[in-house]
Amino acid sequence: MELRIEELSVVTDGRTLVDRLSLTVSEGAIVGLVGPNGSGKSTALRCVYRALRPSAGAVRVGGQDLSRLTPRQSARTVAATTQDGGVDVDFTVEEVVALGRAPHRRGNEPLNARERELCRAAMERLDIAHLAQRTVPGLSGGERQRVLLARALVQEPRVLVLDEPTNHLDIRHQLGLLSFLRGAGLTVLVVLHDLNLAAAVCDRVGVLADGRLVATGTPAEVLTAQLVDEVFGVRAEVVPHPVSGAPQLLYSLDPS
């Protein structure tokens, strides 16, 4: 399903965090949202997974305005992994993954056989099946990130929203997660810090600065030395990746 963010604005305490942001993620595409700290990336995402009500504008999934759905209904189409992935209590991995079915189940209704199989398959795909009985607070950062992703998949969403999913991951797990996203066939909107990872995985990239979308397009169109200088204030050389051809940024230590 297509995800459309239309003229989205978020204003709190007189500060404009997101300013008339419009961005479309077409069906099955991966769109990256990059930008300096505090540029409004996470705030925009929060509107998509309904943690925040936009001050103006709309988020549409398959043409449907999310604000007209109940939180449960939109959680059946949009799943998210958020930055507050900390789990307070001693849930096992299996239990946390099963909570991905919460939007589909009333009250304490137990999962049916198909749903249990769904959970098992998601844990298998993300290579956490062997951790099923372990408690989440005792996991490493990388394992926990995969648990959160498995939970999001179990939601059977059409759209997946990820807030810095590669945080705390070593390079192998970063690449593993991103190549998994490429193969998942979902419509994905992902906030990434690492521009090179964004260039490698995203079909399109949107660049946010001070809440405004300043550039959007394919990684090669957007991630230029000039833009990186303007938006992030760093000097970088852009070279094509020798194998994939994706733009790669080589940073200089001295600021521009």
């Binding site: 449960r72 099923a132 408690t135 607070p137």
Partner: protein, 365 residues
Amino acid sequence: MIGQQRQAAAPVAPGPKRRLASRRGLLGACAVLTLLLVVSVVVAIGLGPAVIAPGETARHLWAALSGGTIGADEVTTHQIIWQIRTPRVLLAALVGAGLSAIGVVIQAMVRNALADPFVLGVSSGASVGAVAVTTTGGLAVLGIHAVSVGAFLGALGASLLVYLAAAGRGGLSPLRLVLTGVAMSLGFQAVMSLLVYLAPNNEATSTVLFWTMGSFGAASWDVLPVVAVAVLGGLVLMYRRGRVLDVLSLGDETAASLGVAAGRQRTVLLVIVSLVTGVMVAVSGAIAFVGLVMPHVVRILVGATHARVLAVAPLAGALFMVWVDLAARTVVAPRELPLGVITALVGVPVFVALMRRGGYTFGGR
């Protein structure tokens, strides 16, 4: 459970031991606890200054329930059993059940392992209400129930104040709620001290003592139905929100992504918890420790899933409280020990022992 057998063979670090992890284990645990509770209630009704054998107690209880007859020489025994001890033991069971379940819910609501049913100022609010009625003679039209009603109103007022002070733009955040509760509690305690200081009579002092230590001495058939409806109704409402509580303990952002509006759910839960706690505190005072520790004990045994914890915690809490009350009224008879003293002296060592064995982390590492 094939998955679990395979799991046992896999080379992973051991997680916490959960002997009651399966669904069958849970039902079994509930059945055993229910049986123990029924037996304990009968035994506890029989024990006291006049010891009555369990069989004899059961016969009297049956006679009272079925409208059967008893011998003329047994009227005194019957009075002791039916009019004095039965309401008291049942009240202990109800309050134990309620405090344990509310502890579970509060800890999930404010996302804090140290929270207990009184963390939001309910108990100190109740004390203020009770002392205010005692010292001013207000609510006199209500007769002997005036102090309890005052305590209930105080508890509700305290919850309302905490809610109003904590509610902000994004709804009720866990940290704001718990900080406001703690701060307000201290404020209510100050007001209570002031009231006692300004009206220094023995009645006010003993009222304060009753509400801060807890006792089931005021139990009677008059108040029992109100407590039963509040506690049992509350238990059902809270149990039905088991999965919502699971989702809330993943954090508000994650809750939103799973279709749970955390702020609104927290408000609903606060209303339930305040009403039930208010009723319990009004009749039995603030019995410390049970609502803090019983949730952890039960989680160690059955895991953290709230529907499971909320099935077992009320039974475990009721069982525990029946025995605590029995100890309170028999150990140094004819004097009575404050319940809070026993709950802490018995509960702390048991809790520490369980915690050290289970590899339980309280959500930390």
